[in-house]
Amino acid sequence: MSASKLRTLRVRDLSKHFADTAAVRHFDLEVTGGEFISLLGPSGCGKTTTLNCVAGLLDPDEGAVEIDGRDITRDPPERRGFGMVFQNYALFPHLSISRNVGFGLEVRGVSRRESERRVSRALDLVQLGGLGSRYPAQLSGGQQQRVALARAIVTEPPLILMDEPLSNLDAKLRLEMRLEIRRLHQSLGLTTLYVTHDQEEALSLADRVVLMRDGVIEQSGTPEELYAQPRSLYVANFLGYRNLVPVTVGEVRGDAVSVAANGSRFTGTRRGALAEGSSAVATIRPKDVQVLAPGSPGSIAASVELAEFIGDGFELSADAGSGQRFIARTPDRWSAGDRVSLRLPPERLLVFPVEGR
């Protein structure tokens, strides 16, 4: 593992408006060399705007971008020396693969011999050795993606920016390239800022995930932190808590809270301030819902509406009455129409206050 060329990247109080809408508001981030940071969020949350401000392709209205303590906020992108991978790869169609990869070296005036050596090394790194004389249109989507990666790393930039680089690939290739990106990041000691709307991608790749919503950071932390301890209902929902149950708060005892919904009572884990008698939302992941035989004690009665085979089991959509639906994953075979009992383990059922916004 080689050492990162960057010590710190600081984004300080960054804001960017388009016309009257604020795309990013008061965004703060500190990245240490060698880290893999993922900016996660739905489209329109400001993650790409933030990335473009770091790249210099957009001018922030407020705030600063600093590299190793040096303010580069007003530097044009061509003077920042970062590497960037675009969603559609943005390969130059009129240049061969070698010249695409060598573009950054050529414009820096690197000698031809040196450039050829580095281009062929970069192409080997992304397993495209020997394809240098081809043209972008002659390559598959996955190969084009590798060329874009090679082009971004060949100049050995202090920071690599990636804007949804895998979203144009099919599922299988996406997994393959995900591993590839992580492998390159580690073996070359890169510092990477990675924008995605795919929570699985963010959690699997990043050392730290920054989840954004409406231009602000909703929560940031390690993938484990976000996964196990979502700070808000929004984060929980984005990270796979697909069951949402409107409840009324009962007794609160420490972190445990008892809630009522549709006449059934159950216990969950408190998240945020909850007052007795107030409305709240209880949420749980499909894989944490336990599907039991009908009539099991301490559970909710439901009937299976849909059962989808998902390889290692079934994903059920079950109706618990009064329009309340649960999605559950279970290794057992159930079919539509079956009566079941759903048990919601208290430690996995998170109860959030209803959001004010």
């Binding site: 790249a55 392709l57 960037m84 675009f86 559609n88 009129h94 573009f103 950054g104 414009v107 004389s133």
Partner: protein, 307 residues
């Protein structure tokens, strides 16, 4: 069971298809008949007729054999000069149009405020036609027109500039009438270039000039070649403006005017046709040159890349 059956079917269907196409045309092909008739009647027939006519010299030229009309044209220094007169207008007009339209089109490739108004402004000259433009120019650029009045008022000149009835008048008219087509064509090309390419080049460290030279211009090259070729053809066949705002007896005696004089002043249809054919050959030659230059440029890029 099903595989051999499928193979059998395939073996059956190929000759069946061939048989059907031998037997007769697909009736839907008849739909191109009206268009084909138009092309035949309105283009191919007159063209062939004119070509044939050009090899049937008339009057004094008859003595020189079937090439008499061509010999008469090329043998007369004044007639020959009309080619030069036309090139002298068409080449600069094309060059200026492309040089002005190219940066403008690239600049306007992304939606900007007022783009529609600007677009309409550029397209209006197209709808006017050369005669109306010439009419307007006679007023606007005349000795007492707005242009001269303004120039005199700001003291740039001390007597009215002669814009009309000379080379300059015809050139201005050509620039006005041909600019829209060139601009729109280049705009279409520029709008088709992925904006991410410019961003990618910037992030990779390319300066404005490096991006222009290494990315924008090569990407625009095919569009430039086509726009220049079309503009050249349009300006090479200049006729009304050369007469109305030019000096058809002298410096703007263009080749189309020479053909018109032969055919309708001397009533030598044969020589008129011959001159028109010469005009066509020159146009074709330059278009072919422009397009092969573009193909050559692309090939060069490919071989360079392969190195």
């Amino acid at each position: 069971m099903s595989a051999p059956a499928a193979r059998h079917e395939a073996a059956e269907s190929a000759p069946a298809l061939a048989r059907r196409s031998r037997r007769g045309l697909d009736p839907t092909l008849l739909l191109i008949a009206p268009a084909a008739l138009c092309v035949l009647g309105l283009f191919v027939y007159p063209f062939v007729y004119g070509l044939a006519l050009s090899f049937q010299p008339y009057g004094d030229n008859e003595a020189n054999g079937p090439l008499g009309s061509y010999l008469a044209f090329f043998g007369d220094p004044r007639e020959r000069l009309s080619i030069w007169n036309t090139l002298r207008l068409a080449v600069p007009a094309t060059f200026i149009d492309v040089a002005v339209a190219l940066p403008l089109a690239y600049r306007l490739r992304r939606p900007v405020p007022g783009q529609r108004a600007l677009g309409a402004l550029f397209v209006i000259p197209m709808t006017l036609g050369t005669v109306l433009i010439a009419e307007g120019m006679l007023q606007f650029f005349g000795p007492a027109g707005w242009v001269n009045k303004s120039l005199l008022a700001v003291g740039l000149v001390h007597e009215p500039v002669r814009f009309l009835h000379n080379y300059l008048g015809t050139l201005i008219s050509l620039l006005i009438s041909d600019f829209p087509a060139v601009f729109l064509l280049l705009l279409g090309y520029a709008a088709g270039i992925d904006p991410a390419l410019d961003k990618a080049a910037r992030v990779l460290g390319a300066s404005w000039w490096q991006r222009t030279r290494r990315v924008t211009l090569p990407m625009m090259a095919p569009g430039i070649a086509v726009a220049a070729a079309l503009s050249f053809v349009a300006t090479f066949s200049v006729f009304p403006s050369a007469v109305l705002v030019g000096n058809p007896a002298g410096e703007t005696r263009v080749i189309a005017f020479a053909a018109w004089q032969a055919a309708y002043e001397r009533f030598d249809y044969s020589e008129g046709s011959a001159i028109a054919i010469v005009m066509g050959v020159i146009e074709l030659g330059l278009v072919a040159a422009a397009l092969s230059l573009r193909a050559g440029g692309y090939r060069r890029m490919r071989t360079e890349g392969a190195r």
